[in-house]
């Protein structure tokens, strides 16, 4: 196969996934299962971003729930206001304090356009500030992982603690409509699935383009030899920052779509445990491969909802065990099985003596 054809191979994969999600799935799945698949697609969007930051960039983010929450709460606030109608106030606020006015920062979320803008702008701003501070100070490795996790814990605690403004632990729920479409209608729910699946395919295309660009090469170079990249005249901090921001936007969009699908957004869907759950799919699928994070996230999502319904404990044991086994024995995830197999075969029967390469 020529290199040109080979470079188009991922595109074939993306097309296959698009057909599976957009054509096959709606045809064969029931409404309930399709809604579940939509939820896994949201997690898969977060996973594509983690694949970019962690798999290609070598930065383990343990707090991707923070950005998931930014998108989810923006969407949740808009849908909540849409459900109570013009001038209305969300039920949980009335329950908490019947006379409370709508907090000022809620007001702009009545506008759908503003909400959509915030779903993208908020993660860009937060990730830029955070990433700039972290990467310019050359905080990395375990420090980076622990800091991001601490921020996820902090945000979850903050949301739980501010019941008046955010609904606290119970979160936002009771949505009836999504940008004018009622949520009761199965047809509209199928529409939401189609949007979500298309967004996931879009994220994959973005990731594919980034990976084959100069930026993608720089990102891998930064992961493998940051000092060398610096000596070559690039600023690794900027490279990492771009990856971090793109991943944050993907997580935010995933969070935003999660709300109409799940019908609820609470701190539990974004705290430290949820952030680790996002990583689980990426680690199992293969963090550095293009499709690894997506397929891993879809599989873990499916596994969680089917197995944990029947045996809640057993699923946790299985997931924990998979985490351990994959990290010890298969750091590249399931996606690396193919190339590892090929490498093992090559060891058995070396084809030619190759020149020593670094």
């Amino acid at each position: 196969m020529t290199t040109r054809l080979k470079s188009l191979l991922p595109l074939v994969g993306i097309a296959a996934l698009a057909i599976a999600l957009l054509v096959v799935a709606p045809a064969v799945l029931s409404d309930l299962r399709l809604n579940n698949l939509a939820k896994y697609c949201c997690w898969a969007m977060v996973a594509v971003g983690i694949g970019l930051v962690w798999g290609r960039g070598g930065m383990l983010v343990m707090g991707q729930g923070v950005f998931f929450a930014l998108g989810a709460y923006a969407m949740g606030m808009h849908m909540q206001l849409e459900s109570v109608g013009e001038g209305g106030i969300p039920t949980f606020m009335i329950l908490y304090d019947p006379l409370a006015p709508l907090p000022a920062f809620w007001e702009p979320f009545r506008s759908g356009a503003f909400t959509i803008a915030m779903i993208v702008v908020a993660p860009v701003v937060v990730a830029s500030v955070l990433g700039f501070a972290i990467f310019k100070r050359r905080v990395k490795g375990a420090y980076f992982a622990i800091l991001t996790q601490a921020l996820a814990v902090a945000l979850a605690t903050l949301i739980s603690g501010t019941i008046k403004y955010t609904g606290g632990d119970t979160g936002l729920s009771g949505f009836t409509s999504f940008f004018g479409y009622t949520l009761d209608d199965p047809l509209n729910r199928r529409l939401i699935f189609t949007i979500t699946a298309s967004l996931l395919v879009g994220c994959l295309v973005v990731a594919w383009q980034l990976y084959r660009s100069r930026f993608g090469e720089l990102l891998v170079a930064t992961r493998d030899a940051e000092e060398r990249v610096r000596f070559l005249g690039y600023d690794p901090a900027n490279v990492k920052l771009v990856a971090f921001v793109v991943a944050a936007v993907m997580a935010s969009i995933g969070g935003a779509m999660f709300v109409p699908i799940a019908g609820i957004m609470a701190p539990k869907s974004m705290d430290a445990a949820a952030s680790i759950f996002f990583i689980a799919g990426v680690a199992l699928g293969g963090r550095a491969a293009l499709f690894g994070p997506v397929l891993g996230a879809l599989a873990v999502g499916y596994g969680q909802s089917t197995l944990s319904e029947r045996w809640p404990g057993a699923w946790i044991y299985l997931l924990g065990l998979l985490f351990i086994v994959v990290t010890i024995a298969l750091p590249g995830g399931i996606a690396s099985l193919g190339s590892r197999g090929a490498a093992a075969l090559a060891r058995v029967r070396p084809p030619h003596r190759k020149a020593e390469s670094a």
């Binding site: 383990l60 903050l158 044991y317 985490f323």
Partner: protein, 294 residues
């Protein structure tokens, strides 16, 4: 006066708890580069050991004195088991130790959920600790003083172990130059194992102390692990004095902020302050000067 003394005393006691929890982490993370996310679950194991022993010997008064050493051994053995089965494969991959131990933590938490009542178990404070001390008019619970004494004891014991014993010398040698220590006859495998035993054992002791103050359920470890890590990171790796100061500052400032706002918001403020502090000093409070590019 009361508004100053109360948070100072309560915060110092909370800081002492954090210190014992962070000491074990500082030992395994700071000295060995292993990020043990299951450390929080070792705290939980210690707390549950305290509960089980209290149930077994119905005298609540003596049980805590039995529980402390037993919890140390139980958590320590858990740590040795973790080292021998999981961590030994990834000493050169610190981020992977983090991931794998997250898996271990998930499993341990589920074991606790499946074994103990889900609403949590209560540990009864022994009579001799159930008193109030009068400090300038503030009624200070004696058990808080107890946690401070316990933290001081753990710290002294650990410092003495590292500084004065042959084994402590071997740990320090292994940390500084593993290959050289090995050629000089130090069994680094054994050093790893015993370091893990001691570090995890300290988590067990912290767990017993925590069980006297907070409810013991499967989320106990998760609540403490992130704060403990922040203390270690803010204090600087491989530095006991940094860990002490960071634990005290985090404990006291949380207590002070709690006065003005709610407990959860106070926690958030302290998290954010630690993150800002790391901007100024990315390597923590005290750092070992090194020529390495790490």
């Amino acid at each position: 006066m009361d508004s100053l003394i109360a948070p100072l005393l309560n915060g110092t006691a909370d800081g002492a708890l954090l210190l014992i929890a962070a000491l074990g982490l500082a030992l395994t993370f700071g000295q060995m580069g292993v990020i043990n996310m299951a450390h929080g679950e070792f705290l939980l194991a210690g707390a549950l050991t305290g509960y089980v022993i209290q149930q077994a010997i119905s005298s609540t008064n003596g049980s805590i004195l039995v529980a402390l050493p037993v919890a140390f051994v139980v958590a320590g053995l858990l740590g040795v088991a973790l080292e021998a089965t999981v961590i030994r494969w990834m000493y050169d991959r610190p981020l992977d130790t983090l991931l794998a131990t997250v898996g271990v933590a998930m499993i341990l938490r589920q074991v606790v959920l499946d074994t103990f009542p889900s609403q949590g178990v209560g540990v009864v404070t022994p009579d001799w600790l159930d008193h109030q001390l009068d400090v300038f008019g503030y009624e200070w619970p004696l058990r808080q003083l107890f946690t401070i004494v316990l933290a001081a004891a753990c710290l002294t014991a650990l410092a003495a172990l590292l500084k004065f014993t042959a084994f402590g010398r071997q740990i320090r040698a292994t940390v500084q130059n593993r290959a050289l220590a090995e050629t000089l006859g130090v069994s680094t495998r054994q050093v790893d194992r015993i370091t893990f035993f001691v570090g995890s054992g300290l988590a067990g002791v912290a767990g017993v102390a925590i069980s006297l103050i907070a409810a013991t359920d499967s989320t106990l470890g998760t609540k403490y692990i992130v704060s403990a890590f922040l203390v270690v990171v803010a204090g600087g790796l491989g530095q006991l004095k940094g860990t002490i100061i960071a634990a005290w500052v985090v404990g006291v400032s949380t207590a002070f902020f709690t006065q003005w706002t709610t407990g959860s918001i106070a926690q958030v403020i302290v998290f954010v302050l630690v993150v800002i502090f790391l901007q100024v000093r990315p390597q923590g409070l005290f750092t070992v000067r090194t020529r390495g590019l790490a």
